[in-house]
Symmetry: C2
């Protein structure tokens, strides 16, 4: 398998965690989102992934895009350990937690959106950082409420084994911290992130230890 | 089943299509996103869905949130007709198409984001509309490339029966048109939307024919 990745991409980070949880080996193909005006915008990469976003996963001659779709694909093609619960309601909950991050927080704070704010709308760095923290804090507060108010939350987002939601939560909290978002009111989120960060699967997926890290 | 919905919400529109495709009946609980300062922000609704977003689906005493998670739940609990293909690679493709809309386009153009642009960043209506069209056109161009370049595209996004990706595409194109986005360079997208709009499942889910429509 080949993973087209950027060390700092939160979506690529999710897939790296999932690959590690499954115990799969992969070849790193770095795609730098800033250098050369963005390597993800070059024709070579666009031919592979027309959306021009990372990550993309090449497996068995096919290219897969969108981090959550990739993780579900990995979960279906490599069953152990499962990253989604066995029951439909549990799966819906874990997917909703994952999407509360992957739909409601991350895209609004994506690099290209921050660039648009600066270049097209001329917002200041302070306004841009406040934007980042706003969506992070609002979105993670919703995730905290979903986790804290549900008996199915365990050591991890759903029970006592890490899964799809944890693959999304850890990169989002990593970014939240990087931008100085306030997380004090989110004890459940922080407990779960602590539990995840004790595992090699999460530690070895972190931006700082990637081969393309700067 | 009860669907907490707002006629104009593109995410609720997706779920309405899926419910129709499955031939399921549901009770409408309207949640007005503008009236009363936003009924989705009231304690009653937040107790149900801490993220304060529509839609939410109540089924069998449980509440489900996030439109894609809800649709997958419906697909798992009501198998016919399937909204995802039978093969893992096909499912990954359909999920990626759905997420290219639900993650990469819709959240950036969501009402609360547009409100933040106006209220916090003081952008003009022209800038706000240009923002809307920018993410719509960029995102739908990626979807067009994913569809046009793949032999698995048929009358619908994946083959000749409507599924999860179509549930996302039609509401997004509906919104794109509402905001005057340019769709001329997206013939595959437009063909598929035309095919969808010939079906009652799609027509009866449209904003204009909802009981809470204005």
């Amino acid at each position: 398998m080949k993973l087209y990745t950027y060390f700092r991409s939160s979506a690529a980070y999710r897939v790296r965690i999932a690959l590690n949880l499954k115990g799969l080996a992969w070849e790193v193909v770095p795609v730098h989102l800033v250098k050369d005006g963005g390597q993800h915008r070059k024709p070579d990469y666009l031919a592979l992934n027309p959306a021009g976003l990372v990550p993309a996963l090449e497996d068995d001659g096919q290219v897969f895009t969108q981090s959550l779709a990739i993780i579900e694909y990995l979960d279906e093609t490599h069953r152990e350990p499962p990253l989604l619960p066995a029951d439909a309601a549990g799966r819906a909950r874990v997917r909703a937690l994952a999407q509360a991050i992957a739909c409601d927080i991350h895209p609004i704070n994506n690099l290209r959106v921050l660039q648009y704010l600066k270049r097209e709308l001329g917002v200041s760095d302070e306004q841009k950082d406040a934007w980042y923290r706003h969506w992070c804090e609002l979105g993670l507060a919703a995730v905290e409420a979903m986790l804290a108010g549900d008996a199915r939350t365990g050591r991890f987002c759903h029970g006592d084994a890490p899964g799809l939601a944890d693959c999304c939560l850890v990169p989002q909290v990593f970014n939240a911290r990087r931008f100085g978002a306030k997380l004090d009111a989110m004890p459940t989120v922080l407990h779960i992130v602590d539990a995840c960060e004790m595992l090699d699967a999460f530690r070895l997926a972190a931006p700082g230890v990637q081969p393309d890290a700067e």
